[in-house]
Symmetry: C2
Subunit: 647 residues, 2 copies
Amino acid sequence: MDKAKFTKNMTGDRYQVDDLFFSRLMDTARTKVIPYQWEALNDRIPDAEKSHAVANFKIAAGLEKGEFAGCVFQDSDLAKWIEAAAYSLMWHKDEKLEKELDDIIDVIEKAQMPDGYLDTYYIIGGPEKRWTNLKDNHELYCAGHFLEAAVAYYQATGKRKLLDVLLRLVDHIDARFGPEEGKLKGYPGHEVIEMALVKLYEITGEEKHLKLAQYFIDQRGQSPLYFKEETERNGNGFYWKNSYFQYQYYQAGKPVREQTEAVGHAVRAGYLYSGMAAVARAAQDESLLEACHRMWDSIVNRRMYITGQIGSADYGEAFTFDYDLPNDTAYAETCAGLSLVFFAQRMLQIEQKGEYADVMERALYNGTISGMSLDGTRFFYVNPLEVLPEACEKDQIHRHVKVERQKWFGCACCPPNLARTMTSIASYAAASREDAYFQHLYLSGTAKAKLNGVEAEIQLTSGYPWKGDIQVEIRPEKPVAFTYAIRIPGWCQHYELKVCGAPFAGEVKDGYAYITREWQPGDRVELTLDMPVETVYANTAVREDIGKVAVQRGPIVFCLEECDNGRDLHKVYLPEQPEFEAKFEEGLLEGVVTVACGGYRLEGEESGALYTTRKPAKFVPAQLKFIPYYAWTNRTPGEMMVWIRQR
Amino acid sequence: MDKAKFTKNMTGDRYQVDDLFFSRLMDTARTKVIPYQWEALNDRIPDAEKSHAVANFKIAAGLEKGEFAGCVFQDSDLAKWIEAAAYSLMWHKDEKLEKELDDIIDVIEKAQMPDGYLDTYYIIGGPEKRWTNLKDNHELYCAGHFLEAAVAYYQATGKRKLLDVLLRLVDHIDARFGPEEGKLKGYPGHEVIEMALVKLYEITGEEKHLKLAQYFIDQRGQSPLYFKEETERNGNGFYWKNSYFQYQYYQAGKPVREQTEAVGHAVRAGYLYSGMAAVARAAQDESLLEACHRMWDSIVNRRMYITGQIGSADYGEAFTFDYDLPNDTAYAETCAGLSLVFFAQRMLQIEQKGEYADVMERALYNGTISGMSLDGTRFFYVNPLEVLPEACEKDQIHRHVKVERQKWFGCACCPPNLARTMTSIASYAAASREDAYFQHLYLSGTAKAKLNGVEAEIQLTSGYPWKGDIQVEIRPEKPVAFTYAIRIPGWCQHYELKVCGAPFAGEVKDGYAYITREWQPGDRVELTLDMPVETVYANTAVREDIGKVAVQRGPIVFCLEECDNGRDLHKVYLPEQPEFEAKFEEGLLEGVVTVACGGYRLEGEESGALYTTRKPAKFVPAQLKFIPYYAWTNRTPGEMMVWIRQR
């Protein structure tokens, strides 16, 4: 690995986004989700299950009396809120919000134990029991999320208080975990601290922070198995005793470098792989990168939904096996799709390959943002690709699938996760290194980057994802040579690329066009992506999708909804050569492109027999209307279907 | 209802079966299952989970010391064994077996409490708690099975000891349950005693026996709900508190005459409906018969697998909703298919309609006998219509589906249920009334019936189900006029019927040809059923089967197995006009007809992408081989599939 080739993600203060698509989501996160969650964290929402998260910290800080309440990982909800809010401050100053943050950070500081420990579940419930159940009790997980929050808030405001709290916590953890004699040989049951420690390392430059991340990654799954010993030593339960997973639920069945497939709880897995990629980059660890490649390959070539989602099963919220991608019983947790985004983002920092950005885009435009209603008030954990309301009500294996997004949850992992991703969307859109700027996503807005020593503005203007027109204007403070690398999406079969009006004839490699020249202020790059509506086929190994197609246009995956197409969507067939017509509907679903197509319904005889040797009556012509998948069930709830039968 | 039109089922001593198909199953039950189960009930099988059933009775009888062990309904295993063995004695004398039966009946008698109560769980564990949890503790269920056993043993041997034990138990129950002041207003959590009491009533003629059955049926689901009151009164748990079912798991959500669809635990439901039909006939209760019609319609027109199986879901081993018939996650318990046979048999006694016999035949030749290996040593609870071994191992929602039949279970409801059905198969094949003999199934053998006062032998000879040739010779002791009614199967589109060599020109009504004449000894009826291989379509409302066909020949449903057709059966397609070739293979699977057919496999590119806009490569011709469904996984275990995609 050549460290000089690593890229650094944009942050919101360096990429002022003004995007047709994501600005709405960013604003929804900022103006709806963050304020609502703050009320929720403070137990001020009438008729909602209480969060207790802020109360727990006040109790731990000695400011209030009471018992810990909520999930064992309740602290992380507050952490993710702080992180989401911090990112929003990078692109939208808000004194009231910053004051709220400072106030709660004061409380957090007071809650911290003198030795640096910070987890209200144990501080309130009995610190003598801390670190006795790493497998299930999420202390390192909460620490990881607070670390991410602290880094974000420090980056957004320059204020160190939360960061200092976290540095003390990390020192506490570092003193307790590691290869040295007398230290615990453990690692988190739910990963996230690994990638968080690398973020910290990037700020502090302290090797011990990277080393701790490395330790957690390399110790995982080593023999003797820590989780097994811990369970026996402390009399902890083991929920997965009779499961297929065993310790692979926690990705701990073997050392990560020996693992060959994405396994277990999908969010944990995605976070682990993100941490592995972060460490591989920071430590220039080739063999760990190889392990990342294996996991990436396992996911995107055999275990990922077309919506960029992962986690085929409700049981364990987990991966199952290759090509097992049921549409109607999928788990596809909002957080799981996000974990894949985090993984992709970190792989892109190491290797600028379009396949990473393609997957990141697939998840960000489809199966993750589907987790939030258009008005930002309701949320999905589970993002199915096919829904029959009656099944969700009456059949247990579909009961985790909801027909409508739900109000805030008591234990709300997904909504703040989505919020923090939306408020930091700029970090996914582009990255730069000394000599080059990489445009991963076509996010309209103006970025600032120092390229070969010269500050430059890079302004992107586009109607993406509804249009394939991408105009870039590059404005260095003075003429400077660098590479502007723009992604050519994997979904695009035909495109035109012009540089200052002339057809580009340079290198296109691994999904990026590398435009290297001396840039003059006002130089323009124009990329035009053909964006026809296309039918997508799944690998024939995918049982649930054989004989079916999905409809995609650009990065957007479409679906049929009952409110447009009637009931019994399983009877709908597309013709072999569908004639699609796409149109932008401004008034629909906050403005979307819809796709119309002539198709069929396979209709049987009215009240016919259950079984018959007579062929079911006929293919009846039917006009079909597809909407973007992410926007489903924002109107009248009903059936939904992504993979459609084809004649 | 015209009572004179009711039929009476054959018994084994009146129908000596010598059938190509069922004689093997009868002999397997008699020579393998019954002896093996006797060893199992006595805990004499090395390396097998102990049954404890006999031990429990010896402890209850004071013959041994110990605690109750096994399931709360463990007694019923012994009861079903006695019943199965008793039926076998009707057609195969066996002094050793009869001695074993007499000995254990002595023990049972000793175990009975002075007041008539009989259930070892409570006799050993605390009689003061008896009748406090009708909902879950199966006392009436065990009583019902013992009642069936007692009636069978009395009919087989004329010995009254067990019958007298049961008469005392029934008196005990009758004294405790009923509408009278001071009696419990309860009914069984698991039905079976209803139909058993009708069997008893047919022997004793005592109205109180019928009345008790009527009470249990009519009290079920009445307000205030007994199960709810009982749960609150006695602090019992309610497992289905958070379920969709609620009390409908027990078919107790409302009175049975108000229920409109088959619901809840499928075996319980099937037993209830059988009891309802039995009572409707015995009591000539028109409105109860209407309720039976509704349940029948709900099952066979919307909730039954093509194999004659019921129970779409593992959760609750239960019905789900209309047209929800998943093939790979089906529960389709062996006992559930049998319960449908019992229901059909009782409906046939009331109304001689071919649709009842068609369903009974469908279940008996397909989805019930699939529950036993050809050698009678291994058993399925769950009879799926599609199996992918990797899913059964790695995905929780498929884990109830087994790739191979299992050895005897500690709590073994299905194997003895199948055994008792096989040893009493004659009772399903034919029935008679004063003036008519009904041939429901084409079981080769010789029946004896008194028809209009004259004893007649009716001998049926056939190669069924492999051949459609059915010859009947009628031998009355002297010429006598009566109706010989022979079923014309619903699956048969063309047939030829001759009576004494002349084409039959009389009435064919509701699936039966009514041949009424003065029969001379040696008169012959010849029925020839065309038995082409056919493709069967499911109602297009069945999501899992749309675009697919099943292969059927005569009453036999076929399947593809991996060992004949390779892996990835989901890639297999049948052509629109398949050319089937059926042949009998004597050496295969104890002799079966197999079906060959040219088809296709939809093969993608080798190690292709997960998603692509390129159409998956090609339909590659493939030679397909189908075997009868019931015989699957008797060779190398692997994938199996009933519903096949069609181009």
